[in-house]
Amino acid sequence: MKKTLAFKFRLYVAGDSPNSTKAIANLQALCREILSDQHEIEVVDVLREPERALKDGVLLTPMLLKLSPGPIRKIVGSLNNREPIMQALGLSLP
């Protein structure tokens, strides 16, 4: 039975480049700690799937797209700083 997931993320990275790798790790850690596994992360490598990046209007990597809950928000960087994500998720005040 498929569980209902509260949060959906799409993370665009450029291969194994340093900030991309950091971003994947940071996102995974944050989700595990705060979102209690009620989440789904899709990692998209712009080197492999550039058309999806263009479609989503991604100009820079790493870039995180918060798909749900809406509205869609974009966050650029290695996600070292959790504040912008928390804000984007509506979990803390701007």
Binding site: D16, P18, N19, P50, L54, V58, L59, T61, P62
Partner: protein, 841 residues
């Protein structure tokens, strides 16, 4: 696009510079905007432009990755497991060196294990021995790939034709959260498996052995213990635990003291344990022991060393046995042995034992102390030397007969004592037979029967005497019957005879017949024994008579004392016999005083009351006349005193006494109903006291008898008696001496003449036998007449006329005595001849 630099013009140069500056600015601006946190920008054509920091990092990261991969491969190859990586479909992505080697070694499967093959298919297609395990492997991998399980582990055998093998299959996901394949590892665990199996087998066997051992130890009746070096119990079997009343847990690690052993026993045991540990030598001993449960017993134990590989003693094994019963039996045997020995020592007989050969092989204390033979002298057949030579043959014969029959034997022989005299022995020996019936040992007893033998001899002699007496009595009786008619006929003939010569003849026949009757009476008296007349006798007459005889005949160095009461009682008895016993006692008294002394004869009336009788069982209560005869001689030791009344016992030389004197005294007194007491002290003297019953008419009975007391007595005159027969000389001398004469004896004429020449002034009368060898009576008489023509001679002969009697001058012979003559006749003749010679003087 940058082409060859040759085509770059100045304008282009400036534009390029401007663009580069712009690119640099762009990058710088982007870095400023994103805080350096971006790697790439996406260009509108979909190309990515990596920022140069990311490019640089990516390059170094790739190198690192490559290095890491190489390292991982090396690690995988180094692992002793067959490892393959499979993708989510089970297709083999990669294998390590070990996998490949295994695949190569098991050539059959070779290509199927290679990269690109689907391992699941391979396993599921497998056939043969291990197909089951292969399918289980596939199922396991599938479950991991499907994330049904986090990982999968399975042990399985996969034996090759040449060896047994076991493997451990371990399947784990390749990535934690992706379902992207799995790591499949086959680890060869054959060694561990074999080791484990071996261990299992070993422990199973060890367990069994341990159980067997403890069962065996528990079922033993002996007590088993194991001690460590400090003397502490490591193990004790059930019987021992029961004896102690403890469990194994309670005793392990405890020492003797802690187990409540007495201190001295604990010390002894500890020392012995220590010795075993030090020397490696077994120790055997025994001890009494009382257990805490109160069981008391005697125990035999062995401490044995348990050696380690290097020869040192690891621990000591104790084995203890209850020997209480055996000890008790031993004590019993020792007691019996002791009892037997005591018995042997206590008996006066000789107890001996020999092996079947009859040769002495061990010391024989009884034999040695009896014979004086040392062990060296008696060993072997040396003991035969102690046996009287005349008896050896008979002893040997009886013994060899007993050996043949395996029977007991008895024999009599004489053995020599240390003082070289022989003792008569009665031998009884029994063989102890072995189980096979052969003789193993002889046990024998020598009993000293010397005294019994002597008594037997005396008895035989007495029997002979008795039968002679009986015979003589019978003859005497017949003779009486013959003599009676003769005597009666003579009396009748005297009445009718007128011829004086015939009257004389009748007179002579009558005298002879009377004499014959007298002899017969005497023989009858002897045959009847000591029974004599029983008439009332006045003892003072007997004593006076005795006094007269003794005064004249006993040596002068013997002082005489006679004492009588004023009115002595009468004795009922035979005066001759009483006279005989008194004389006998006085002669003994004289002989006891060879160097002189005092002889006391006293007479007393006495009443023996019940009190006296109680102290002297031989006596009867009543009135008695007691006659005591006391000397001051040497006395007698008790062992002789006990025997003096035995017939034939004498302390005198072979020809001096018959050994019948005192036994006759005893017999006569007994026949009178009296008894005899003896008091003797060595060195001081002896007293005989004779108790004769007083006549019932006593005291003061007037019935006096005078018979035989009218024998004429001499007055100490010396008479020379000549006879070649010693017995006649002896009896004559005794008679004359007893009746108041002194006697000189000569056994032949020459001696007589010499004696007479020497003593002619003292000799009042010569009594000579006529029939003598060499110098007959007539020759002697002639010689005497030559010395003294007035010599007074009485001649005795069995013949009326002997030899040259005619040559003797008339008057030379004063009187003729016919042999045999009685004492009375002799005394009367001497008295009358002497009276005549005095008158003629």
């Amino acid at each position: 696009m940058i082409t060859s630099p040759a085509f770059v013009g100045n304008d282009q140069q400036d534009e390029i510079a401007s663009l580069v500056r712009q690119l640099h600015e762009t990058q710088k601006r982007l870095r400023e905007m994103t805080g350096g946190e971006i790697d790439a920008v996406l260009l509108p054509d979909g190309q990515s432009y990596l920022l140069h920091e990311a490019q640089a990092q990516l390059q170094s990261s790739e190198a690192t990755q490559r290095h890491l991969a190489e390292t991982q491969v090396a690690i995988l190859n180094a692992l002793p497991a067959n490892i393959a990586l499979v993708d989510s479909h089970g297709t083999i992505l990669s294998t390590n060196e070990s996998w490949r080697r295994f695949a190569t070694a098991n050539a059959l499967h070779g290509p199927e294990f290679a990269v690109g093959e689907n391992y699941l298919d391979v396993c599921e297609r497998a056939t043969g021995n291990c197909s089951e395990e292969a399918r289980a492997t596939a199922a396991g991998i599938r479950r991991v790939l499907n994330k049904e399980v986090a990982d999968f582990t399975m042990e399985y055998p996969c034996h090759s034709p040449t060896e047994k093998r076991w493997f451990l299959l371990r399947v784990s996901p390749m990535h934690e959260d992706k379902s992207g394949g799995a790591v499949v590892m086959h680890i060869n665990i054959t060694e561990q498996k074999l080791a484990a199996q071996e261990f299992e087998e070993l422990s199973r066997r060890t367990d069994l052995r341990e159980r067997l051992l403890s069962t065996a130890l528990a079922s033993m009746r002996d007590f088993a213990q194991i001690y460590d070096r400090s003397g502490r119990i490591l193990f004790a079997n059930q019987p021992l635990l029961d004896l102690w009343g403890l469990t194994l847990d309670q005793v392990v690690g405890r020492n003797f003291i802690e187990l409540g052993y007495p201190v001295d026993l604990a010390q002894k045991l500890n020392m012995q344990l220590q010795k075993v540990f030090e020397t490696g030598q077994e120790v055997t001993d025994e001890t009494p022991y009382k257990s805490p449960t109160g069981v008391e017993g005697y125990y035999e134990y062995i401490f044995s060393p348990a050696l380690s590989a290097d020869g040192t003693v690891d621990f000591v094994i104790g084995s203890t046995r209850d020997v209480t019963l055996r000890k008790q039996e031993e004590a019993e045997v020792r007691f019996n042995e002791q009892r037997y020995r005591s018995l042997v020592q206590a008996t006066t007989a000789i107890v001996w034992d020999t092996p079947a050969s009859g040769e002495f092989t061990v010391e024989q204390p009884g034999w040695t102390s009896f014979t004086g033979q040392t062990f060296e002298e008696l060993r072997g057949t040396g003991w035969l030397n102690a046996i009287h030579p005349e008896d050896r043959a008979e002893t040997a014969r009886v013994w060899s007969e007993a050996v043949t029959n395996r029977s007991r034997y008895t024999v009599e022989h004489r053995i020599q004592t240390p003082d070289k005299t022989y003792r008569n022995m009665f031998v009884r020996a029994v063989p102890i037979l072995g189980e096979d019936g052969t003789i193993r040992q002889w046990i024998g007893i020598h009993t000293d029967i010397t005294e019994r033998k002597q008594l037997e001899n005396q008895f035989l002699r007495a029997q002979r005497m008795e039968s002679i007496g009986t015979l003589a009595g019978g003859i005497a009786h017949d003779l009486n019957n013959i003599l009676a008619p003769i005597l009666m006929a003579i009396d009748l003939l005297k009445l009718t005879a007128t011829d004086p010569q015939a009257k004389d003849l009748l007179q002579t026949i009558g005298v002879s017949a009377k004499r014959g009757a007298d002899i017969v009476r005497q023989v009858l008296s002897f045959a009847r024994g000591v029974e004599g007349d029983r008439i009332e006798v006045q003892p003072q007459h007997l004593i006076a008579d005795l006094e007269n005889i003794i005064k004249d005949t006993f040596p002068k160095n013997i002082r005489l004392q006679f004492s009588l009461p004023e009115k002595p009682w009468m004795i009922l008895g035979d005066p001759t016999q009483i006279h005989q016993i008194l004389l006998n006692l006085c002669v003994n008294a004289r002989d006891a005083m060879p160097h002189g002394g005092t002889l006391t004869v006293n007479l007393e009336n006495c009443v023996l009351d019940e009190h006296y009788v109680a102290m002297n069982l031989q006596a009867k209560a009543g009135n008695y006349v007691q006659i005591g005869v006391t000397d001051t001689g040497m006395g007698m030791p008790p062992d002789i005193l006990n025997k003096i009344f035995e017939p034939f016992f004498t302390t005198k030389g072979p020809n001096e006494g018959t050994g019948l004197g005192l036994s006759t005294v005893m017999a006569i007194v007994k026949s009178h109903g009296g008894n005899v007491n003896v008091y003797s002290e060595q060195g001081k003297g002896t007293t005989f006291r004779i108790y004769l019953p007083a006549a019932e008419t006593s005291p003061g009975s007037a019935k006096t008898q005078t018979q035989d007391l009218t024998m004429p007595l001499g007055n100490g005159e010396t008479i020379l008696v000549i006879d070649d027969e010693a017995s006649i000389l002896d009896i004559t001398t005794q008679t004359l001496t007893a009746f108041g004469y002194r006697v000189l004896c000569a056994t032949d004429g020459a001696e007589a003449i010499a004696l007479y020449a020497e003593n002619k002034k003292n000799i009042a009368l010569v009594l000579t036998d006529m029939a003598m060898p060499i110098m007959d009576g007539a020759a002697v008489i002639r010689a005497l007449l030559r010395i003294n023509p007035a010599v007074t001679i009485i001649a005795a002969s069995g013949l009326k006329v002997t030899g040259d009697v005619t040559q003797i001058p008339a008057g030379g012979i004063k009187h003729f005595l016919m042999k045999p003559y009685t004492s009375g006749t002799l005394l009367k003749s001497i008295r009358s001849v002497l009276a005549d010679s005095i008158k003629s003087d």
